[in-house]
Amino acid sequence: MIDEKFDAIVIGAGMAGNAAAYTMASRGLKVLQLERGEYPGSKNVQGGILYADMLEKIVPDFREEAPLERRLIEQRFWFMTDKAHTGMHYRSDEFNEERPNRYTIIRSQFDRWFARQAQSKGAILLCETTAIELIRDAYGKVVGVRTDRSGGPIHADVVVLAEGVNGLLGTRSELRPRPSAAHVALAVKEMHFLPPEVIEARFNLKGDEGAVIEAAGTISEGMAGMGFIYTNKESISIGIGCLVSDFAESETSPAKLLDIFKKHPSVAPLIAGSEVKEYAAHLIPEGGYKAVPQLFGDGWVICGDAGQLNNAIHREGSNLAMTSGRLAGEAIFQIKSRRDAMTKANLSLYKKFLDESFVLKDLKKYKDMPELLHTQAQNLFLTYPQLVSKAMENFLRVDGKPKIEKEKDTFRNFRKARGFGLIGDAFRIARAWR
């Protein structure tokens, strides 16, 4: 099919793949990018929030052309019970800056744009093409891929696996393990369309301002999970995700969980009267630092979700994906410039870059968090939200009961529910956060 040899083949046209392809192509490398979808983004799902800083390091003037929905000026955290939410709320006009920090995006549109940027730098993109097998030489070094298109193998010095959390190539080639059920969350999401002015009124926004709600509590029915509501220009993305291991144990239907979230009295008015135009599901890597597999070897590197590079605590994924793709591209370019071979030893430069960047530093900081969330799910997502909600209601409801008794009630509730566990929980969270 393709006779020429490439400097690099990039598997996937998502955040990591596009960043890698762009970085290498713009430095003059011969790059082939393979995407199994009809167009870049057709297989990709994200909430989604774009972090400007990480994209700026790749495409500095992206704001001029990239399909951005709304710049985020407000973040709400909701601690939810069945009928209430206790909220923390941060809104600042500082976010209305010249170069805003965060935007909502719609992935199928964004990925198409991002892939076009890589193409404009010379990368060749083949869509509707699934890479099905890595080709190795006699020494085991990866030297190319075979695809589901007719024709022979395609050769390259290095293969960049940016194939996503559910990528088959890396696992089938035994470069990385299949993610375990405790290390991935299943998220479902719907796109609710409303006129922009309705969204702006409901979320107290003007123009292209946007808001984000992240919600945790009884909505995940005791599983480790979170709900989210993101404002786009003419739509609201609403979804909920929980660990697959928790889903499996509780045998809960994700679709129903989303419907319950949508019916919550705090949520329903925000999406009332909307037209739903899509229902999506996707896995999110949540294993953290300890679940990150070997990320480089002879003739290959792994970027983005495929490498579990996702910060579940801060709900950041696309920026880690983009940055890992960029760093892989920069490492490969450096090795190539020295006319060195794409050996494991040389490609360890990519891991060195990652170690020095926020990507692995952040994941390392929270290395104990995934396990804590998993083992303490009942307490963190059911017991505490209920206790907090009850305390708030008790505090606010004026009913003639002396305040001193109200305080005693609240204290008693906490002690009864968790006893000395309270101290242990606080200690465990503090330690995992450190």
Binding site: G41, V165, V188, E251, A280
Partner: protein
């Protein structure tokens, strides 16, 4: 959380989506079995697209047309051999309009 009332059927949700179905070539196959394993049976609740169902005779069956390619069943059932999981052919399967 126990809110009763009407819930939308998953099929109705999928109706909004765009697919290019590779007719006669399902990308996920359930291995023949007499009694489904715990994880395979759990898929009848867990699959976000409702692709898995239990027949009256007890076996778990799959219609992959509405698959969202999330990979949940792959994570839970591939290693044990309950299912084989492949991507649809390039260009086929779910095509997210928004994603």
């Amino acid at each position: 959380m126990s809110i009763e009332g009407e819930f939308q059927k998953v099929e109705e949700k999928l109706f909004q989506n765009r697919y290019l179905v590779d007719s006669g070539q399902p990308h996920i196959l359930v291995a023949p079995h007499e009694k489904p394993s715990k994880n395979l049976l759990a898929m009848t609740h867990l699959c976000p697209a409702g692709c898995y169902s239990q027949a009256e005779s007890g076996q778990v069956e799959l219609t992959a047309d509405g698959c969202l390619e999330c990979g949940t069943c792959r994570v839970l059932c591939e290693e044990s051999g309950d299912i084989t999981w492949n991507y649809p052919r390039g260009g086929y399967g779910i095509l997210f309009k928004f994603g």
